[in-house]
Symmetry: C2
Subunit: 301 residues, 2 copies
């Protein structure tokens, strides 16, 4: 027997999706990007996403459940944002041990409901099921979103020579900041409406894990300027690389458009940092990283 | 603290959805039916559904994972069928302890993939996450489906005087039959195309649990003819009421259309039993049941 321990999430997913038949012709984007993309209307694609957080893995049992609820929904909003889209409908699946306090679950629901309302996308259903008494609560969010066809932005379309940018400041999530997510919906909408981002994803597992994913799915390499990393106050570059759960935008911009983008960003979002952290290069010239967040490789939080 | 133990799934869900804001005007059906129903096109509504099964609760650790995978997908197909719809896209969320055998997961995926292909609805994405080592695997399926507007059938629209029918034979799921689900897609399509079913749902938690749900959401009562219950070979009526996981159709037909429906059913589906098991009555004259499957009240499987 080979257990999934130490395999890493990407390797597990690769093994599993090998058992799926070839994608049908009308599927726009299948497994591998932030969301699946499927046909919807003459002007829009639909985005499909599931995302789960687990007590004892993604949040501590004594955490404020209202903030946990907010985080569960906000993580999915961040995925939609990273593809140029916005959320449409949410479904909530709760796996709960039978000794769970119903009041904790109500608090969790209040947090989820508050976040869903904030992003104008209702919770319209879901499911509750029992899990074993020794397990923690499992909160799995499924959601649909919409993206204008002209704004859809993938992680797989970065080009050699593109500048690499991140929004905001990185690192420090382990100190508690991971619960207070403000997905970069406005910034992502602005980038995609103006066609600035040649590729984009959100930073959920840390730059050290996510940038290689963007580069690999684009068939390119990257060179990172470690000294340029925008770190949260009190954080070292190592934390900005490794901590994960930043929920900032990682995106690439063609060199011809960098100057205009940077100037206009500072006017549109004077309070959101924007940093050029490197450049896409040929695959053979790429830097190599290890680390970043992987729940199959690490003990956490 | 009040734990969810013994509360029952319906009571938990009622407590939680009370924290949601009023449903938006463009939502067709929210929490409470088999699926949520949302706008899609000029001719179709979209169905949204999540459903989870848990190792040690819904299936045993030594179960054939290929059959478990089939079941996970088929349960959702059954929910779509019960509303007159068919599946469109699937997403798979796996919560897995780190000592899980990757080969088991691959077998699970083959079963899911086979079922999704059978119903012409691809698996297009998902998520894997770690759960605590003492928990069992959590398999959560999210899916979208489509239903012609003219065919949408709810559980809440049965009328006093309607005859109550079930497809197939009931009971015996605990003996292993629960893994071999053939959702009644063709029968449900036929019923809804011909406008026979005034209300419909699928039997997942047992007639003793599901018929009261249909009656309550319709604002009516029911009288059941226990002697008429169509039982699986070797099963007693008590098992037909209580076992759950039948995945048969429970539906109501207006008295004027019963004769025509029964005659045409026998020609269309000569191999599928069809049984009138009772009648919808005024709320005040309803029978009362207890029992049926509830994972918060029972030890199982």
């Amino acid at each position: 027997m080979k257990s999934v321990r130490h395999m890493g999430e990407d390797a597990i997913v690769e093994r599993l999706i090998a058992h799926l038949p070839p994608a049908p012709a009308h599927l726009i984007v299948g497994p591998g990007d932030d969301c699946a993309v499927v046909p919807f209307s003459s002007t829009h694609w639909q985005l499909l996403k599931t995302d789960a957080i687990v007590e004892g893995i993604h949040f501590l049992p004594n955490e404020n459940f209202e903030r946990v609820g907010w985080k569960a929904i906000a993580r999915v909003v961040s995925d939609f944002a990273a593809m140029g889209g916005t959320p449409q409908w949410f479904l909530v699946t709760l796996g709960i041990p039978s000794e769970t306090d119903i009041c904790h679950l109500e608090t969790l629901y209040r947090g989820m409901s508050r976040c869903a309302q904030h992003y104008h996308a209702p919770i319209v259903g879901g499911e509750t099921t029992r899990v074993s008494d020794s397990a923690g609560c499992v909160i799995s969010i499924a959601a649909t979103g919409l993206v204008k066809k002209s704004q859809l932005t993938l992680r797989s379309t970065a080009r050699c020579g593109d500048a690499i940018f991140v929004s905001g400041l990185l690192g420090g999530s382990l100190a508690g900041r991971h619960l207070d997510i403000t997905p970069r919906v406005n910034e992502a909408q602005w980038l995609t409406k103006n066609g600035y981002a040649t590729a984009m994803m959100d930073l959920s597992d840390g730059l050290a894990k996510d940038l290689p994913r963007l580069a690999q799915s684009s068939g390119e390499g990257f060179q990172l300027d470690l000294a340029a990393l925008p770190c949260q106050p009190g954080c070292e570059p190592q934390q900005a690389l490794q901590d994960g759960e930043d929920y900032e935008l990682l995106f690439t911009v063609s060199p011809q458009r960098v100057k205009s983008m940077v100037k206009r960003w500072s006017l549109a979002f004077p309070d959101t940092a924007l940093t050029c952290i490197g450049r896409m290069v040929e695959k053979e010239k790429t830097m190599h990283f290890s680390g970043g967040w992987d729940h199959f490789a690490k003990k956490s939080p």
